[in-house]
Assembly symmetry: C2
Homo-oligomer: 284 residues x 2
């Protein structure tokens, strides 16, 4: 079972938000959907969830186009960055209305999550702070019973304790249900441990589609005296470089090979790698 994006493209007037993106999301995986502000992550999720339509290309669920296809869409839940749920509804009303569309929505589980996060279900969405509004949306998504759950910035405005709780709950739910989770976030170091696979967008183009370990092993960081680092990396594909006094650090594609004494080699963190891979793109 999988969702397949085929040359998915979306343009808004002169702006190409998504440019021929093809990728496959397998059920039973947690994926990171990563990229800078404005790279096209939300556009992608909106197209998958049928909130917007592609200019070109298609989204298939088990081979069938999801476009205006209710049966397919019932298997997909896309948490909204924008407020698609009437803000005057109470949490418990939203939860109990979920069954109209998501037949296998798990209302007991939604209640459990509200307890875990101490979210008062009698409150209206409009009464919640930024952090609690995110928590409410995450709860609707996690309890939807969908096979493919897209969480767009699920930590937006969450305090550190709540973020830790959320990561634990996602892992637990993943193990119980084997749903696919696609998580878009800017707190990459915190989430890196969750991701089995990473999709990286840059200016609307998919620049990486790899499992997290392969991705981290695709580059290395070398630290040392600037002149030595420059000499060692000459001819190599340097993706980012920073200097501090007489010392330098460079993130380089490929394998280090033989390393001269005086230089330190390490694996980049996923966040370091992403910063290096997506720095200096133009945005709007």
């Amino acid at each position: 079972m999988s969702i397949e994006l085929k040359t998915l493209t979306k343009s808004y007037k002169k702006n190409l938000a998504l440019d021929r993106v093809s990728l496959t999301i397998e059920k039973g995986t947690i994926c990171g959907l990563l990229g800078r502000n404005g790279a096209g992550k939300t556009t992608l999720v909106n197209l998958v969830g049928n909130r917007d339509f592609p200019t070109f290309g298609e989204v298939l669920l088990d081979g069938v186009n999801v476009r205006e296809n209710d049966k397919a869409l019932k298997k997909i839940y896309c948490m909204g960055a924008d407020d698609l749920i009437p803000v005057n509804m109470k949490i418990k009303e939203v939860v109990s209305s979920m069954r109209y569309f998501y037949k296998s929505a798990d209302l007991n589980y939604a209640e459990k999550l509200c307890k875990d996060f101490r979210l008062d279900m009698t409150k209206r969405l409009s009464q919640l702070s930024t952090g609690y509004r995110t928590i409410a949306k995450v709860i609707f998504a996690m309890a939807s019973g969908a096979d493919y759950i897209f969480l767009d910035e699920p930590t937006l405005g969450l305090d550190a304790n709540h973020r830790e709780l959320l990561y634990r709950l996602i892992l637990e739910r993943f193990e119980e249900t084997e749903a696919a989770f696609v998580i878009s976030t800017h707190l990459i170091d915190e989430c890196a441990g969750l991701f089995e696979r990473c999709f990286i967008l840059r200016e609307g183009t998919l620049i990486a589609d790899e499992d997290s370990e392969t991705l981290r092993s695709s580059a290395f960081v070398v630290d040392g005296k600037t002149e030595q680092v420059l000499l060692f990396t000459s001819g190599m594909e340097v993706i980012s470089r920073s200097e501090l006094g007489t010392l330098s650090s460079a993130c380089v594609k490929g394998k280090p090979g033989n390393v001269p004494a005086g230089l330190e080699i390490s694996k980049p963190s996923l966040q370091q790698l992403l910063i290096a891979m997506t720095a200096d793109e133009k945005r709007g």
Copy 2:
């Protein structure tokens, strides 16, 4: 020059959002306004900015109440978590209209910031992604020319590169203008270096008002074998404890005194300390 909060209190029906908070914000300092989701941070900022009125207590600017006091309010800019600016306005329109209220708004500086963040000023707020909407609001605040600038979650939805850029710009602007910055954030480890002073709210009550270093020195972390940690900390004020196999870590108020061999003592990070000080409160 300073803003003084005197027994500031706000209740919504049965909910006491802010309970007799007294504190002083001096010009020329960067302060952290910290606390969990729902602790009262946004309520506090709304009261200072006259977006809401206290049930009890007052906010004074240089001794004068700010309530419906335009002259005082022109010196304070509170970045909005909610959208108080019409979302159909273009960025450049918002910027050029700022002068109506904030006479010393710096339009050139706003333009510079838009360039730094690559924010297209011809776009409408409604066309921006979550991250870019935050960036736009931060730019309005930073360029307002106000003496007291409140930034409520200025990193909401910002990617890692943009967060680094923002921290650098805040420091630069602070050095140039000597304005006070009051920053409310949940990414405490990233911002800790900026804060000279910290205000910590817990369930609407101010539980700490100290300079950052004093705060971090007010507690210590002890790591080691669980039984040894338990023995060492017995009778001490333990604010949090975690276990991993046969090992334990405890965050303890006060000074460690004589430490037996086998135990490791370290300073808590600001985030660790905050998690310890604010864990397990009730919320809504």
